[in-house]
Symmetry: C2
Subunit: 554 residues, 2 copies
Amino acid sequence: MTHPLFAQHQATLEAAVAAIHGRGYWSPHAEMPSPKAYGETAAEDGRQAFEAQLGRDFVLEQPGQRGWAAPERSPYGVELGVRYPVCAPDALVAAAQAAMEGWRGVGAEGRVGVCLEIIARLNRRSFEIAHAVMMTTGQGWMMAFQAGGAHAQDRGLEAVAYAWDEMRRIPAEAVWEKPQGKNPALKMRKHFELVGRGVALVIGCGTFPTWNTYPGLFAALATGNPVIVKPHANAILPAAITVRVAREVLAEQGLDPNLVSLAVVDKRSDTQALATHPAVKSIDFTGGNAFGQWLLEHARQAQVYAELAGVNNVVIESTDNYKAMLRNLAFTLSLYSGQMCTTTQAILVPAGGIATDQGHKGFDELAADLAAAIDKFLADPAVATAVLGAIQSEATLARIAEAGEYGRVVLASRKLAHPEFPRAEVRTPVLLACDAADEASYMEERFGPISFVVKVADGAAAVALSERIVREHGALTVGLYSTRQDVIDAMTAASWRAGVALSINLGGGVFVNQSAAFSDYHGVGMNPAANASYSDAAFVANRFRVVQRRYHVE
Amino acid sequence: MTHPLFAQHQATLEAAVAAIHGRGYWSPHAEMPSPKAYGETAAEDGRQAFEAQLGRDFVLEQPGQRGWAAPERSPYGVELGVRYPVCAPDALVAAAQAAMEGWRGVGAEGRVGVCLEIIARLNRRSFEIAHAVMMTTGQGWMMAFQAGGAHAQDRGLEAVAYAWDEMRRIPAEAVWEKPQGKNPALKMRKHFELVGRGVALVIGCGTFPTWNTYPGLFAALATGNPVIVKPHANAILPAAITVRVAREVLAEQGLDPNLVSLAVVDKRSDTQALATHPAVKSIDFTGGNAFGQWLLEHARQAQVYAELAGVNNVVIESTDNYKAMLRNLAFTLSLYSGQMCTTTQAILVPAGGIATDQGHKGFDELAADLAAAIDKFLADPAVATAVLGAIQSEATLARIAEAGEYGRVVLASRKLAHPEFPRAEVRTPVLLACDAADEASYMEERFGPISFVVKVADGAAAVALSERIVREHGALTVGLYSTRQDVIDAMTAASWRAGVALSINLGGGVFVNQSAAFSDYHGVGMNPAANASYSDAAFVANRFRVVQRRYHVE
């Protein structure tokens, strides 16, 4: 008796499992907002669905509701005014616990089928979610559609595939028959039940409310756990739509919708109460170090999967395509105004400059050329605003304003007018130069469009400094530009020791801050920037347990 | 280029992987000490090898040695006098770290091949190890041979199989080719390196120095981590032989023998220094709650896999084979004098008695019949001493002596003379009766041959009490005797909620305290008795990480 939703999505699941084993390119979700993929009316329907929510109550019918909250402020300066239910943490946890046994009873196939149906419906609402992501995070439209839609759905599906790949290898039952020499064999029947560990809490961030939420949400849900989604106060709508879709699918299947709920809080202590609730057994967190460390210190009853701050860096030792390198870096530093957990912050360059296909380039020359490349890339205001998006938080605006204090300004940030949103906070990147010794400047995360060209003694020193930065302060990505195999080998070995993903000589249409689901392991889980990867067995295997029973049979 | 040791053991590995997926009966290790399986001279060779170590220095040539220690005292009263190297913790950790990169370079196949060769050699030394286990732990000979030899080797092999099953699914490299409409595809080559997380510490217990040590040792080693084995001060020899075998195999393969080292400490602070060393990234621990909780609290830099105390229990609601039930329980309570982490401590029986195939049995009658069954089983001194073994620790002897304070004595413990070892501390089990309300008596682990027949209101109350005991105090095993399907269903559901392995109506040659590798999940990892299982993906998946690099290709 295969669950109907499992049967319906089985081909996608099998392709996804093949993809995680092969880790080449694969996605079932169209990343272009094209009518061909999404339907002729999808764009307009999505826009209307988004707009219909503005200034209204976002009804979810969750237990323990004690009020409404509308904390979001759009980086584009648009009034949102969506009011979300505020529910008592204890009521959400109790409802989640009550829903759990029914969810276990559906079995692994049923749970995976339900998860895949939720993801398929999220895909059909990609336009609506993209508007919600764009307007709450400040992402440009195309990024909001891709990273907030298809790519986030990919990451959710990838987590389900890993969960299924682990669960399917545990037999529901077995006959154990142990020979006893000339005596009759000992024979037992054993049953193996997959049991979720308990209520899961998924705490989202303000910049990628779906991409960074779906892996934990679907990993926990597929493995048998109810999930409470606690979005960032400024990026609730994408999570709220996601939760509503999940609850709809669950209810249609006769399951308790409280398996997935939204926790919008009106005081910080509510988040802490959720995180330290004895019934909460896992927490997925993306965000800053302060609360991340608080969670690791206080939420001892839960397994915490944390993605925290880091200092991503790129070593430039030499290049055989100077222009392509500069273009590639200029795009990386500009995209979403550097508000990605994967954006490069420190660019390590030998004091004596580097060899390139255009001859030797001095340290200052390289820094100036990179600044010029950024300027050139952002010269067209339409391109600039589309790529940069808007600045998500006041704190980032403040960091941009004070950036001159951290180093010598090579390229100053400019405020751009947005052609469509006059109150949008658009800023171009600031590029600073400093010495390797100025560690206080560049060796701390400066989230936003702030990066440093750091002067190091030579290539070997750059590789060593990169490794130390990763070990001590963490990083999700490092990059290397070098034409020398010995330098590439040294940087590769350093990346193994420090535990960080390495991109080598990127000059085309792939950027160090991009991570493709089903292929790139996002986060390694070995350095301070993250204690887990989104895309491996370790991300799912510890979220469920096997409970056995056994008895004699003839 | 398959590694020669991988090729040599590949058939065994493939059978082991099939076994963990099927979880029926399987083992490549003969559990009977027969000349057919082990060779005509194996028994005598093993005895001589064991005896040759007594009163001598156990040389390991480890770094940082600063002295010798000989702390073992045999429960059989035999002089051991083996002197082990005491090495500085920092030196062991530094040597382990230095060895790690070479171990990574061998690759998953090479590491698995080396692990399988170590296990194969341990198997050939089963007699020697069995003597070492027997004389240090007080186990009877047959148990020492089986649990200390073949079954421990099974558990080690099982961990390697899980590790391999996870690692093999990660491709070494992939080509990622993303279509770009009419433009040329984006194409990258990606490499995925498996990297151990860091030095592993495996802390053994005094009762099962190989069975409880091999899972962590081989799970950590196979996944790329150097391992420091820190045995219990009274059960060093089995671990020392194991470490020596591992170091021999590593050295033969041109690998750094310091990938596996033995930490015998002469002060408690050395163990703490090891456990909290920043380079130690995982700790496998079997033992008491005090030090276990200390580890969980202080060894925050490491993933801790802990098997702690619990209150295993059995519910007796009814039976259709009263005699078989009593015989089965009598054996369970007697085996190794209850010094197993899986031995039943609390037997929950309705106040009004139970229905049986021999008519109704009152509460007191059942308790008395169980006492009689134990007495009868242990009537033959040869059987008794073989099954009971000797009492491992002074603390257990003290608990037996004071057991009368915990409840009404139904069966008193007796001191038996051992025909072969006049100074052996042999004790028969003590059986107590108490009321469910006397929680202070039975709801705390009383390690050793001390168990309670606990009077509960009725069958439903027994099931509920069993669940609460497991949730609050932990358990590795629970049992049920009932002829009613509704009771079996209720107990099954309770076992899912509390997270504990359930044995139903055991009456034959399988006992609730036995856990068979490749079939039974030892520990669930959901209740206070253990935060991990020995035999699932979660036990291995978090011990290594995937570090990727990528670059453009044409």
